[in-house]
Symmetry: C2
């Protein structure tokens, strides 16, 4: 151990010294290395430079940097962002390492030499090489930088060649080190190194094919999958001359790389300690690289959670030092299916590059069990221990160097959604974690993926292309290449997949028509990905291997040509694209998932209902655990042609008497649907909403009518010319009718139907409509009750903005309907009357409205529209994709509730409504009811229940439990 | 004076006793009678029963009644209201007069007998008769009840006949008393009395014509305007037999009336004291009649202002006791033009009925001056004194009984708007009132009427019909009888007046097309009246003398027949209808009005700007005293055909390059308009709003395009048939263009344009549009500055919902435009950038937005739409008229701001915006900026200015001053 004067801040801790629980000081990686070291596991010796040292590094310019970060946190548009980043870097470039730090580092390097028995910069014996790794308190994968093989220089590389007995390996390590160091530490553009490599690689391949063709054949005989690459060591035993040639190329590259460094920075620092100093500084700086800053903002990693990165300096060990060496990765459970069996890969005497080159195939862990049983046992034991301590499935990297096992890293394993659920439940049963912890471990998004259609695992189909999994769900359809065709074919009842190079706002109508979307270009935030997720269509984006030719209406992938109309299947869960119609399977809740959800139900405060309009949906919802129906939209009941026709007559009626006649008929028709729904949900509440959309939505558009009119007139003129009198009379009538219809449709047309004559406004101007609809529901309930059931009917009035509206329709329509039915059926009914809270004014006057109703149910879709003044239809078609692309908005407010704006209204209305009517029941039936982030908000806002689409009921149950648990733990922690 | 035991509550005060300043105790009338009595003016002796007695009357059921009133205050729909009123009456019916009250009344009646020298119920000498009048602390004209001639019975009437020497007068007084007492005190339906009277009147007229034809002729010779009526005394000297016959009929009616009372209530109470007791109770009850309750609710008369009514018992005096008697009314100044000269009417030896019968014509006050100069002087002196004490122009009722002048009542006079302004200013100059009081005296609505076009007073035209003045302004136009014709003719540029029996929601498109509206039926809250006021069209409603025949498209009035297309003029200020085009005069601010407004400017805190889009409006606004332009809408600048065409090209552009080319051209065109506006308002701020409406508003509707397309295709087919090739080519091109246009128009079509791709959203998706528009304004400012002017440009971004939107367009469009212009013109400009606050989310996130802008300007029109989820266009066409009719809403929220809902948002945004940016300037540019009630709210909410349409600038100046003064006085009073 190293001694310090007490007055000096201790910046450096060996893995034996540090308190591994103090992740904030040591960072995640440092803590994990300390943990393993202190558990007695063999870890390559090393030390951690604390996050405190990093903070100290930034201290001189802290306020300037903070103010830039603060501005970045406000999520400015890209132009502003770029300026801010430039400003940040000019500040950071001027910083120096804290005084005294390098003194402590040098002391610890001395200790490391003792501990490893090697010397840093040794040009004779076995040289000590180190890796320099970043590591903040929380994992920020790929966000910050790491340098390997530090300590190499022109002389040390020779020592390494001697010590390892493999000159190729030594020079390749040196080449890689130069490139990494150049890029990360010295800030030289990677392009320069890549260009040099590509040039050398090309030349090497060219000469090889001619000059070493016989050796090449020999390799191919031994290793059929062999691929010739300059950055993979050829098998020396089979092809010694080729090996030699390859080594020469590597050596030449080393010189070229040094030249690049010279030109762009200065002479490459041969002094290992200088290398180390520069690398530490680079890791510190990487805390503030833009990727890292945005990762922290996006993941809400505040300074309280993680402030600055630590730096870990670790002795390099090698798995390619002979057949008693090797390298591998070990997962403590099967990360694919969650089974409690060790899982992983092992590669003896090799480096990763060998796999790439095709001269090695990774072996299963069982191989290690056979070849080195004691090491295997040591590994598995350590894994089980780590699982218990860290309360999670572990992903452990290890290396065996000359018969000695080294643990390089351990972290929580990434798993498939299936495995995530199973392992969480299993670990709770094994008492490794509590049930609460198990519930918190599974993200609702993961469960969501389990619920979307998946490719049938028995199908064993091979994908023809791979892209990014942009929007979940697997779906088959016929290929079309433009949105207009998509719309046209969809109208004819065909299922289509829209295939585009990339998409733009003008294509969006095609998204709605298509069953799924496939693009050749673009990432997870591309227009296609954002829109597809927005409207819930499966999508695969950036499948770069498909080449689209719009002219010939086809795409090629490899040798295959796929023409318009051909069936393909895309899997938005995995990014795979298949030829033909691959069978998919529908989701089911069973086994561990069901168990987990039952636990969740015990923890949550929010009730979970479903939005369901038809009996099929109600049945699914009940199966998925819905505790009632939070929203039944009558509108869906009018899709049947004979009902639509009747409804049209109601709307087009020119007198109240006429309207009432049609209403009576309509009322009888829909009563049976209500009965069925109430029966499926017997004893559970069913909220039925009185008609909401603008009535003319059920009528044809004026331009459609005028088209028909012109066509009818043309036919009439033509038929008249031919003198067919029976036809003439018929057509004359039709023309007359269409003329009348056009006039009516124009009269009923509205400028902004969303804000027009709809919802309760129809109830006020035409109470008879609300009366007959209410009557149909109440009659359904009365009949069920008389038949011995227990229907729970809740009637909901939509679009209320003023308490008088609800008073008016209650007295003029709903209560009369209730009284009439009770009298006629001689039955007493307990019907609740409530209102949808979906106008801003309803939120602002919740106190008054609450006095007159039994329940509130937030219609957050319309409320979001009104709060933003965005029409959802228009926004998602015209400007929202660009808003998300330019990051003017960070999330689609129709997916995740805008807590800052809309949420404020929800909070006001909930609080004031409950204050004024303590028995008021408050729910939410907008689409946000199925969104986990939004559910967390609704839990906090004090709602009683959420109502989600049937599939999302499962997600809502889990998300509601997590929200309640997080709130509970927060309170317990005293936050 | 009457003595009481000290322990007894004093409920009754003679006019000498009461403190006239204590209006709350004595009521307005009681206080006025006490005031005049104590000033030494001759007032018929009498006493007041206090409001405290009335309160005591209600005390036993106070909480029950209060709860009903509370519910009524919440303005329930009519059905609920009717129930509540029924409930209230069943409670009130059971109440009794407070104990001890009648004892005090009887004592005071004794005192009254002494004071008047007459006896109550005297059947020998001159009987004492009294009037029993209600009177609350504030005037509630016509809301409560009054009984005259109380004390008459079968015997007393004979004494009265003897004492007056006029039996007809005595029995007519008795008949009238029976009817009044029956209706008001005994609650018998007035219809019964009316039917009896109509029957008797008919019979009397029938027999008269035959039997007394010669006497009738004699009367007609003496009094050419004589009209035969049973309820007017025939001139006895000219027609003694007719007089006798008439008296017999009156006596028969007296018996019939008593029979009606007997059948519906019981024997008519002959005891005068019993009559008095019942009458007092009836007046107390009238405080709670529905008319009175609603009057108080509507006028916000809370218990703090007036609680219960007093009852005044006053000795009756008569003006028909000979030629030394008479009756009259005296206004202390001319209520028509405001001149400081006495004004009024005098009728010697007569009752009001004589005027009705045509045997008397009221004389001017000068007549009194000539005939009884000392009484005239007494009257005028008293008037001047009352004016000084009561600080207002007085309306004084007086009666002269046998050479003695009696003051019956004094109250503030009702005046024309013109007189209101002049007298207020004059009285301030005469030091009767302060300037603050003068400003508070004139209602902004009155000034508004002064500003609408009026019939030219020199025109001397005679109206052909009279209706109700439903919506101000005088206007001429051609008569049309249906809304479709109105639209059609208006499109052709004709000015039309829509004439209907009554209107319904389906007619509203005709209102927009017409210059004015005239109906034969309906009151001031009828559909026609509400809609016309809502959209600011002059209207006369309920002109019942016009008979409309839709079939023949004409109306008759008297002998005149007015056919469709004939010119008429309606005057919504007075309700008059004229034949032909009567000249009207435009308003001007001058003389006393100007003086008053200058005073107002000194008192107000709010600035007043104008909304003006074109130079003409800007000039008017500056003339009316606007302190800048609060809203210049660019859209109006695109009405010129060549500009509209260019704008269409911008919108239809399919690439950014194309769009920029057209924008550059457009920018040049509008720059000169900006220059002109900025120059008119030199040194004053001009807020120019970047383009706001949905772009497709500038394009034709799809159904229009498709119509044109079908017609072009038909023409093409026809021309092709005829083989005219040049035409064919032209038409083919046209068809092609229309097909393209239809596709583009459909692509751009939006479901809800109000909430669609508009305002800042266009600026985000197409920053080039905002860039070029901003550039045009900034160039205008730059050029003006270089020419030596001082333009003050404020650029406003509309529809902002998220702070990032404003950040984005500032960085991408506005600031680049500013930098480019400053560089190119070599001039430094001080341009403010602000945002319109018209989305709900902008209000809720004002704190964030305020940091990025220089000013806020509330767009309360859109904000109201978003808060209610009402589209104004659709609401006013489809359901708002019914909402107002059914009183679901009490006021049109687009006229007067909904302080409870929308106002809450305005308050939040103003407070939080100013907290986060103390230099933020906050204004309002919605139409509410010109509405006095709304201005009162904006003053309270702490805004810096309002911006109103040019005409309303004057109103805003006055309303702002009143708001500030009321606030100041409130603070001074410590409320």
């Amino acid at each position: 151990m190293v001694k310090h004067l007490v007055t000096e801040v201790k910046y450096v801790y060996t893995f034996h010294e540090g308190d591994w629980r103090d992740k904030k000081l040591l960072g995640g990686k440092g803590s994990s290395l300390a943990q393993m070291t202190q558990m007695g596991l063999p870890v390559p010796p090393g030390f951690t430079i604390t996050t405190e040292a990093c903070r100290e590094f930034y201290t001189p310019k802290k306020s300037e940097i903070d103010s830039v970060v603060k501005e970045l946190e406000r999520n400015p548009p890209p132009a502003v962002r770029d300026e801010l980043i430039k400003r940040a870097w000019s500040i950071i470039d001027s910083l120096e390492l804290p005084g005294g730090l390098m003194k402590q580092v040098i002391e610890h390097m001395k200790w490391l030499e003792e501990a490893s028995g090697k010397k840093f910069g040794d040009v004779e014996g076995i040289p000590l090489l180190v890796s320099v790794r970043s590591g903040a308190a929380v994992s920020m994968p790929g966000m910050m930088d790491t340098v390997l093989n530090l300590g190499l220089n022109d002389e040390v590389v020779k020592a390494l060649a001697r010590a390892s007995g493999n000159e190729w390996f030594a020079y390749d390590a040196y080449r890689r080190f130069l490139q990494m160091f150049g890029r990360i530490v010295l800030g030289i553009s990677e392009k320069l190194f890549d260009e040099a490599f590509t040039r050398a690689d090309g030349e090497f391949k060219r000469i090889t094919v001619e000059k070493y063709s016989s050796e090449l054949s020999a390799i191919r005989e031994a290793y059929p999958k062999y691929s010739l690459r300059l950055d993979a060591q050829p098998p020396r035993d089979v092809a010694p001359r080729l090996w030699e040639e390859s080594l020469n190329y590597i050596k030449k590259l080393v010189e070229e790389y040094k030249e690049i460094i010279r030109e762009n920075w200065g002479e490459f620092p041969q002094d290992p300690m200088k290398q180390l100093e520069l690398a530490i500084k680079a890791v510190f700086r990487s805390w503030m690289n833009p990727r890292a800053i945005f990762y922290r903002i996006a993941n809400k990693i505040t300074p309280e959670i993680a402030d600055c990165t630590a730096v870990n300096v670790v002795t390099m060990v090698y798995g390619n030092m002979g057949w008693d060496s090797g390298t591998g990765v070990y997962f403590t459970r099967d990360v694919a299916n969650g089974e409690n069996v060790p899982y992983g890969e092992f590669l003896p005497n090799a480096q990763g590059e060998d796999v790439v080159a095709g001269i090695r195939t990774p072996l299963s862990l069982d191989e290690l069990k056979t070849s080195m049983p004691h090491l295997y046992e040591q590994l598995i034991d350590a894994g089980k221990n780590l699982e218990k301590i860290n309360k999670d499935v572990m992903d452990i990297e290890f290396t065996i160097e000359r018969g000695r096992l080294y643990f390089l890293q351990n972290r929580a394993a990434k798993m498939t959604p299936l495995a995530r659920v199973k392992t969480a439940v299993d670990m709770a049963k094994e008492r490794i974690i509590s049930r609460e912890e198990a519930v918190l471990k599974v993200s609702p998004e993961a469960v969501l993926k389990l619920l979307y259609p998946m490719i049938d695992p028995r199908a064993k189909a091979a994908p023809i292309a791979k892209g990014l999994a942009a929007s979940p769900g697997a779906v088959s359809g016929q290929v079309v290449f433009d949105p207009d065709t998509a719309v046209e074919w969809a109208k004819k009842g065909r299922r289509v997949i829209l295939v585009r190079v990339e998409t733009k706002p003008d294509d969006v109508h095609g998204f709605y028509a298509a069953a799924g979307v496939l693009t050749a270009r673009g990432g997870l935030t591309s227009h296609a990905a954002v829109v597809a997720r927005g409207i819930g269509k499966p999508a695969v984006v950036g499948a770069e291997s498909i080449k689209i030719d719009y002219e010939s209406k086809s795409f090629t992938v490899g040798d295959a040509v796929v023409k318009e109309g051909v069936w393909i299947t895309i899997d938005g869960n995995t990014g795979s694209v298949y030829l033909g119609e691959i069978p998919t399977v529908a989701p089911e809740v069973k086994g561990e998932l069901e168990e987990l959800l039952t636990w969740a139900d015990g923890f949550r405060k929010l009730g979970v209902r479903a939005n369901a309009d038809v009996p099929e949906d109600a049945a699914i919802a009940r199966k998925f655990g819905a505790e009632g129906i939070g929203l039944l939209r009558i509108e869906r009941m009018f899709r049947k042609p004979e009902r639509l026709e009747l409804l049209r007559k109601v709307i087009l009626s020119e007198s109240r008497e006429e309207r009432e006649r049609y209403l009576r008929e309509l009322s009888k028709m829909i009563k049976s649907d209500f009965k069925e729904m109430l029966k499926i949900m017997d004893r559970l509440p069913v909220v039925i909403r009185l008609i909401d959309p603008p009535l003319h939505e059920f009528l044809p558009a004026p331009e459609e009518v005028i088209k028909e009119l012109y066509e009818a007139r043309a036919s009439l003129a033509e038929v008249r010319g031919r003198g067919v009198s029976a036809e003439v009379v018929k057509l004359e009538e039709r023309v007359k009718y269409l003329e009348w219809l056009y006039k009516r449709v124009l009269t009923l047309k509205e400028h902004n139907p969303m804000l027009g004559h709809r919802g309760v406004r129809v109830g006020v101007t035409h109470p008879e409509i609300y009366y007959y609809l209410a009557r149909a529901m109440i009659e359904a309930a009365a009949e069920l009750k008389l038949e011995g059931n227990q229907p729970v009917l809740e009637i909901m009035v939509p679009q209320v903005a003023h308490v008088n509206e609800i008073l008016f329709v209650k007295r003029k329509a709903i209560l009369p309907a209730l009284e009439d039915v009770e009298r006629e059926y001689r039955v007493k009914l307990d019907v609740k009357v409530g209102t949808m809270i979906e106008t801003v004014r309803a939120c602002l006057t919740a106190r008054e409205i609450a006095r007159e109703v039994d329940f509130f149910s937030f219609g957050t879709n319309d409320l979001t529209q009104a709060t933003f003044s965005f029409s959802r239809d228009d926004a998602e078609n015209k400007f929202l994709p660009q808003y998300l692309e330019f990051e003017v908005l960070k999330e689609n407010p129709f997916e995740t509730i805008d807590t800052y704006g809309v949420g404020k209204l929800v909070e006001i209305a909930t609080r004031e409504g409950k204050e004024s009517n303590p028995s008021l029941e408050v729910g939410i039936c907008g689409e946000h009811g199925g969104d986990p982030k939004s559910i967390e908000f609704f839990n906090r806002a004090g709602l009683d229940y959420v109502s989600a689409s049937p599939f999302r009921v499962v997600i809502a149950r889990l998300a509601a439990a997590q929200a309640a648990l997080r709130e509970k733990f927060k309170v317990e922690k005293g936050d």
